[in-house]
Amino acid sequence: MSTDTQNTDLGLSGDGHVSEHPPLVEGNYSFHDITELVAHHAEKKTPKLWYPAFGLAVTVTGLMLSMLAYLVWNGTGVWGLNNPVGWGWAIVNFVFWVGIGHAGTLISAILFLFRQKWRTSINRTAEAMTIFAVVCALVFPTFHVGRVWAVYWMLPLPNQMLMWPQFKSPLLWDVFAVSIYGTVSILFWYVGLIPDWATLRDRATNVWRRRIYGVLAMGWTGANRHWRHYERAYMILAGLATPLVLSVHSVVSFDFAVSIVPGWHTTIFPPYFVAGAIFSGFAMVVTLLVVARKIYNLEDLITINHLEKMNIIILLTGSLVGFAYITEFFIAWYSGVIYEQYAFVNRATGPYAWAYWIMMTCNLVAPQLFWFKKIRRNILVMFLISINVNIGMWFERFVITVTSLHRDYLPSSWDYYSPTFVDVLTFVGTFGLFFTLFLLFLRFFPMVAIAEVKGVMPEADPHFYDHSHGDGHTHEAEPTAVPSPAVNKEDEHRG
């Protein structure tokens, strides 16, 4: 592999000339072809395979709902929690799902601010993934409160007890962080969807489709006076979502870091959690897109170059996470605190050593294969590595949560924690919920941002038509009314 190509691939040169990069859209499409290619999937008859897939996903969601009903009926005792380990799979799964969501915001917001135009073909799917992952994450804290009917106590609502939440607790910060993250993600997603709803509305052939998409599009016409405010709003939302996504996982890490439990009480947690979240999220995006682009024949829009760029980010963030693992160990030793030192030695050699080494292999070793260009561009291998990373990142949260708790300061209360079938099936069930929502998205939504993809095609640049390429005849028709000095001035200004 060569670093030079990589840098230009990532657009680090920063000059916005699309032509210098490998094409973002392959296969010589016109604007209309792009509309057809994407809108077609939301308009055609439901593919046969969709029904069994959806049926399976709904069944698994039903499994989750029955497990939750069982828990509400009997109490949280049906989970495997015990006295030192008061936080088991529930928080592990919560952090896992929230982390997965973060890649969506990263792709939609941070890459937008960095003018990474390749994001346009994947951001819609990634944002959908964010929202669905946050929904799955919220299941766990909501039901972990035990008395789920009193869950509104977490919010600062006036109540008959004349009590308010306690704002010095990181758990309450988390309530704000995650619920606002979900809300802003939905707003961002919706704003991005408005022009594409309008496209579907204008193509609709039956009354109900036109009405429903018409209501969703809110009367969008593509007027430039609208695009002006729209683009500004989109940029501001990206600017807001960027610090938001960093703050959300930082606040999640405060749940641990603000306590005094050895293994949790470290200042490295916020950046380390954020890197881990992006790492796991990108792995999930790769897993989903490898399948979706194949089924939906979108290989020309979501190209191997897109996947390779995501693999580079997985490699980068995976190395950051691995570096954090090693730093944690070093700091534990360097601190001179015996409890801290014991917590880390126990992680690597104690009763949960198996989980620790699964985490190390999946997160630190496996992504390093992406140093090789051949592997970064191999669909099967990247699919396996991405699943591997998802497993590894789940184990990271398991290791952090459980190994730190199961041996606290008092040896008489040490215990071994294992989940019950309710823990396991609830977690499996959230995958059903995730895929139910994702399949609905694939069926009824424009799964690629149509307007944005058109906007990054070379033909979208008005100056594409200035020179020899393009159709010369149209030029002859215009110039009478357009005094050339103005054009030249504009060119200098733009160029």
Partner: protein
Amino acid sequence: MIQLPKLFQSEPPNPVFGVMGEFPHPGALLDAARGVREAGYTEYDTYSPFPIHGMDDAMGLGQSILGYIVFIGGIMGVSAAMLMQWWMGAVDYPLNISGKPAFAWEPSVPVAFELMILLSALAAVGGMLALNRLPRPYNPLFYSQNFTRSTDDGFFLCIESVDGLFTVRNAEELLERLGAQNIEVIYDHGKLDEDLLEGDGVSVPADPQVVSSQ
């Protein structure tokens, strides 16, 4: 636009909304917008499936004021969060947590930050919709069958009749001179057309006459 009751609206049943022409590509639309502006018109707009770079300059539009609205939203978010945490934690329901002060700014930062983001984001979306006068279910342009391509691959420019310089003939001539195709007069029917919502959606609108093509 405020809709007058039917009673007072009897004069011209279908007042002209504007004259619209189509252009072959974004470059032509940009030049045309500049040409219309130089001809002195102010009430016109271009329509495209994606935002076109340089169009704001070509049309002489300044910066969007949305940033100021968002700024106000952000300030309100921070102040509301700080006031809430101080009043709830230090005034109405003080709790002694490990001897920490009832209110201090440091632990109040995360909630203040998150609420700042929330109110800014709501201001950004709400402000954008308000500035664009959306949602807008009725729009005279929806009567043009050709106009459905504005969200696909069509590039349009419409000079509106509210402009002081507007006459149908002048606008048509200007658009023709600028190289427009499929020039049509758009009428303001003033209501949602039931025909448009029924059948296959390609029903021919009541009166737009295609004045000239090519």
